[in-house]
Symmetry: C2
Subunit: 913 residues, 2 copies
Amino acid sequence: DSIIVKSFLDPIITSLRKAQQGNERPKDPKLWPYFQDGLRRIDYVLTYHVQKPQSTRKLSAKSCLCFKFRREQSSPPAHEDPELAAQEQRLDYHEDDQRLRREEFEENLREMGLEMEREEGNKIPGVGFLKIHAPWEVLCREAEFMKLKMPTFKVFVLKVNMFVQKVTATLQPKVGENRVENEKYLSYPFSREKQHLFDLSDRNSFFDSKTRSSIVSTNPFRKAFCLPSQGQFKTKCHLSPDLITKGPDVVLILSLQILCEEWASYSIFYKYQPIGLIRKYFGEKVGLYFAWLGVYTQMLIPAAIVGVIVFLYGCVTVEDNIPSMEVCDERNNITMCPICDRVCSYWKLVTACGTARASHLFDNAATVFFAIFMALWGQQLCSTFMFTQICALILHFCFNSPHTHPRSNAGLFKKLIILAKALNLPFLFGSSAVTGFEMRNYTLTKLLANLSPILKEPKLTCRDRMPAYMTIIVMMVFLICVTLAIVFGVVLYRVSIMTALHMSSTPSFRTNIRATVKTTAAIINLIIIIIMDEVYGAIARWLTIMEVPKTDKSFEERLIFKTFILKFANAFTPIVYLAFFRGRIIGRPGKYIYVMGSYRMEECAHAGCLMELCIQLCITMLGKQLIQNNLFEIGVPKLKKMLRQRKIDKKHQEELDKTLHRHEKDHFLGPFVGLNPEYMEMIIQFGMVTLFVASFPLAPLFALLNNIIEIRLDAKKFVTELRRPIAVRAKDIGIWYTLLRGLSKVAVIVNAFVISFTSDFIPRLVYQYMYSPDGTLHGFVNHTLSYFNVSHFQPGTEPTESMHLGYKVEVCRYKDYRDPPWSDTPYEFSRQFWAILAARLAFVIVFQNVVMLMSDFVDWLIPDIPKDISIQIHNERNLIVELFMKQEQGKKYRNTIGDPSPQPLRSRPSSQA
Amino acid sequence: DSIIVKSFLDPIITSLRKAQQGNERPKDPKLWPYFQDGLRRIDYVLTYHVQKPQSTRKLSAKSCLCFKFRREQSSPPAHEDPELAAQEQRLDYHEDDQRLRREEFEENLREMGLEMEREEGNKIPGVGFLKIHAPWEVLCREAEFMKLKMPTFKVFVLKVNMFVQKVTATLQPKVGENRVENEKYLSYPFSREKQHLFDLSDRNSFFDSKTRSSIVSTNPFRKAFCLPSQGQFKTKCHLSPDLITKGPDVVLILSLQILCEEWASYSIFYKYQPIGLIRKYFGEKVGLYFAWLGVYTQMLIPAAIVGVIVFLYGCVTVEDNIPSMEVCDERNNITMCPICDRVCSYWKLVTACGTARASHLFDNAATVFFAIFMALWGQQLCSTFMFTQICALILHFCFNSPHTHPRSNAGLFKKLIILAKALNLPFLFGSSAVTGFEMRNYTLTKLLANLSPILKEPKLTCRDRMPAYMTIIVMMVFLICVTLAIVFGVVLYRVSIMTALHMSSTPSFRTNIRATVKTTAAIINLIIIIIMDEVYGAIARWLTIMEVPKTDKSFEERLIFKTFILKFANAFTPIVYLAFFRGRIIGRPGKYIYVMGSYRMEECAHAGCLMELCIQLCITMLGKQLIQNNLFEIGVPKLKKMLRQRKIDKKHQEELDKTLHRHEKDHFLGPFVGLNPEYMEMIIQFGMVTLFVASFPLAPLFALLNNIIEIRLDAKKFVTELRRPIAVRAKDIGIWYTLLRGLSKVAVIVNAFVISFTSDFIPRLVYQYMYSPDGTLHGFVNHTLSYFNVSHFQPGTEPTESMHLGYKVEVCRYKDYRDPPWSDTPYEFSRQFWAILAARLAFVIVFQNVVMLMSDFVDWLIPDIPKDISIQIHNERNLIVELFMKQEQGKKYRNTIGDPSPQPLRSRPSSQA
């Protein structure tokens, strides 16, 4: 893809660079988004459907309809048109109605001072374009209103650690060739009264295209909703609001080129991303996503390294591990009780040797330290440190607007409802051009389709909402039950298949039974997870639409929250079952617990369930990532693109390619559907990495490898396959931060339980320090096994082939801490059981509180805003003070000598300590 | 005091009200703080010492020295003066030097546009006053720079719940008689370019006196430090910076009157505080303290009510409590092992009946729910809810400037050091008038006294700081060890006295021994705590000065942090010992643990140590509050005032009282020493209320009663006894919030441990559900007592009067879970012990995580900013949008018809939904 883009861009760039040097501005409308007069830039393009391209309409549409503060002059053609239309096509009422509403909408835009040019059915049949230009006055007004921070004359020098810069030089993307990296313009909120602070010599490039398009997109919005008391609310029309402004000027074509070369390419996976440029091209919200993804990936590196070391430590020490040596020692002639009723027989512990050795790879002393490390990593680095610190860094150095808030549109939806009721116009919102954002359109349209029964009420009361809330709660509980049922189903599958295999198979095949069943079950689980993920996503959206949230922000947050809960439950229920329930509710020999009639609950292998948990995690992580990345993120978009292109006749295709304008070509790209799926994928991965990391130290490594690909994959998608999204200003990553913090809190307690209950760490410690005669682990295996008198088997459950091992078994052993048959209280939990339970619980308390304390301590050590940034901010503030003081003195001076001409303050770069 | 103020104020107020109605402005400088010309207001008064009031100086000083942008004109007298002085008093070099520096300082103020009048040794000998006036231009410039939010023309109506308003009407302080409560001026950051938005008809009252004085106090500051690169740093002189502007204008005299009547009076303890007025008079920082204190007190009401209910529940159910009934039942003939060696004998369990019944008052089922309630209360309501929610509320409705930040002075101190080095002037900072805040002065002065050896270094490196840090760590550890040693000392006192009393006393006296010793020990503890509190406060300050923090803010934070740790350890170590260690490290009969040779560690009474913990808490809380309130907060200031007044001759006193100007009278008031002691007292109380509330449910009630008095006490102090502090803008309560959050987090885990380990709640539960034959608590007491064979006593420790009870004892009982002498493992911890330990630990985990989860849930339910406030903020923003849109249209209109005159926008109150 990048090659295609390149070959397309290359000749343009060459001509552009020339033009730029000569300070000329090419005005060929084929390549450049200017109005047909070649003077006014296109800042925003709206498209709409034209059903029947007729000759009359085509003509009237093709004539340039440009107005500038001339409401009176623009009225006549608007009046003419409907008359003409009414005569010609009375039947096509819908089309007419839409056109009328479009015109009303345009009228409102014009009132706001925007200028427009219409272009209908020119080359692409059935699609009309409305090109919008924002004149200088409008830009200034809106910029002041939005408190946009713009660069002033004042240049200052950033203090950069030269050593660090040199070391990381090869990792930095090559963004600007001759830009001095550590010089920066002091920026200040734009204000028309303080124009002398800014460099306005080139008005065309003062606001970049991203800013211009976001100014235009918010403009009609305010007009429509912020002043409802003045009764000016009538800006509806059927313009589908896809923004098509990919690459509209020299700088942007260059940016796109650089992004292709220095970002959307797998070959430079080791480099930092050009965050500043991404932000400049796609806006703060997308920039923040990639910044976050980059930092998260970077943070995974130490975690992956430590994880691999822990794994290697396990590999190296497997030979010296006393418990597994004892299991594998033929001399310890331990006879174990059968693992299923009747058909299974007694077995020798030594046959579990392989499992015991494999378990040691993941369950050794280093695991505990790794769990603590990862809990701290998760809680601390990945939440507070990473997000506030890095956001501060990125916002300050690249984003330049740390303290501006996106304009709130709270209460918007309430007003919509009230107005819809007042005007008795339920169809009023059929379209969504007023909003400008795809996400929002979808929401509004769907919401309103849902709303019509409630539109009689001016405000939704608790009573109106109750049915929806009840449905949501019931549905959520139901869905989680479904998830549990699925897990239980898989368990039954495992149990029944295992029993069936035991009954019929040859002895040589039996040894492979466990592994086979485990692996197939894990794959079934994976497939179910992936299917249910999609189902749950759809259900969450449906539930949220039913809830009718008041604002768009709350819609998005609630949707994310619901989707997260469902997908999270879906992904983690099987893992939680494996970690905490499997092998714990089996009863004891002679008194087993049965489900579904005669199936005994499954036991763990000798060395705990950690091994199986590990397999499940490994398959889920790898499988999910591979399938989601390859199938959903690469395959499906390609398919969609093919389908889209099919609609247009093949023969026209190539011809069009040459003659089409930029915005017409962009029309065929996929729409931008928001960042939520990307974030969701990452957060589930984060959960995998932190929640059960104690049982699978390689998880960070897998995540790291996945993310390195993921970044470039997303980059390619954004650069080559999607329309350019409207730049949305964002201060942080919003609700995702809350979810991440929550996850990392939960991770601490989950890891504590995994170590103390799933692994054998605590029993080993307790044995070593309380029961071992010589302070070593010798005898540990024997200590963990209780005695069972085979005469106590319930009738009908004793093994049929009791002589399988070649001798008569009188006492067999099972893994539990219970009193032996010859004590006063046979088969009761022994004193050791309670002591180990107390130790396990104590470990959980200590672990949780120590990690929390350490996390708070690290929090306290690492300031929210890094020191050099805060010094930088302070310096900048000082510079602004200085600037204003100079200005004051200048004024005083002018007042004294009577010179009224305002002089812009030009100062040379002054270095700052 | 309030009567004195009243009688003094009454005639003035009457004349004032008249004057106000007639729109006249009285200009008698005796009453009104105007310059001698009667035109310019005094906004700020500085005082300094004049050692020898000579006739010549008096004359030159009395002549009005006012300058206005006339640096040239002001120079000659400044040059004359030193010559004169040099001729007359060469010996008094120091005095001269100070005078020179004063003049330099004044010169700088003048350059900033301030106007001044000097008044030396007029009525109070040895004190000179420098009165400062800020002209309109300076006020505007600074207000714009500080982005002060000022009221615009636009009035809007707050939506107030009328029902709530009526119900709480009697609780509201009567602040403004004819002010419409729910009307509010829309405010907007002041800007000279947007003057048409503001009502500037009365320039004298547009900025109130609080704003004016804070503008003046920050003015020279910026001049001095923000532009060091321009080399204008020379604004030093020896003016002590006490601000004396109590009551400088009509509004303020009225405010003071209202504050006296509606705030600083015990009779209206049930009313809300007039926070808006407090903030207006004392500034945001003080306002926030009282708002916080008020809300905290209010939040204590439900806690106190629930606490009393829990206590009453204990009282009511004491008769039905099976364990205490069993203890008191004569028929259960249980013989207990002796509680001390040799001299004590066996005793009957029935004698512990009283203690058992008393323990039930504090240790019953309701305690657990109360602990959960209080943990939630502490963590949730008292931190997140209370502080963010209430701050948002207060800031929005009263403080009016939610988004302004106080100007940062980070790096200030570093610059001071660098400059001091550059100018080779270590004495440069001997004074501190530049700063304007008492706190800061003190800091700077002390810091610099400490700094002189390091001044050779331009910047303090890690190596320079290392000795200080080491000292601090060592000192802190040492002090905490001292605290531990003191506690241990008290324990030894108790043990030895107890043993001594046992040996010598008559039998009838013995029963009272325990109570006596407990109470005296608690009182000794209390006295030690109060003494050490003062010592630790001084040490913390000394340590912080040694640390040389870079900025003032960090100085304050570090000081608070250190003081908090020391005082907290001091107050809570004895309590922690009682709760968790006492009675747990005693060994068992036959194998006791001895300290200091032959003293056995103290045991708890039969029903656990909860009772003793309760007594200790009660005495500490009551005693600390009574002594600190009465002695330190009322007594010591009175004493100081008496001492201050003594210095002035008695005969002059009354005469002066009549003739003195307002600022001269205020000179005799106490200086404002910051809010830290007040906060510290409250946070230790908060710790008492939340940390061990499980053991003492009446703590919130005591705290509530104390705080009701505390509010009015502090109010009286601020209104009548202290100079008016400079208004400091504050966004929140700073580090105190961090400490409170930390405390409430610790409270959760401490309460969990108190319930599970100190109280008998878990053993009772475990007995009831695991061991009880009939599911009730019958037999519980017997179950908790282990058996001891008296023949196993170590030689020499068996009781001498073994026949004391009238029969020969072979087996005695003691409170522990150990195997009986006749088992295989005599005196080992029994299976019950481990089971109960596991249950206790499980309870801790469950409690901690449930509370944390509930707390997060409540967090999620209650938004940071209450809904009506956020709607209000949104409405306000909309109004501003509207205002600007109108303005835009107005501009457009004017441009069209060519009318250049800017018209202020006056709009009538428009109601907002």
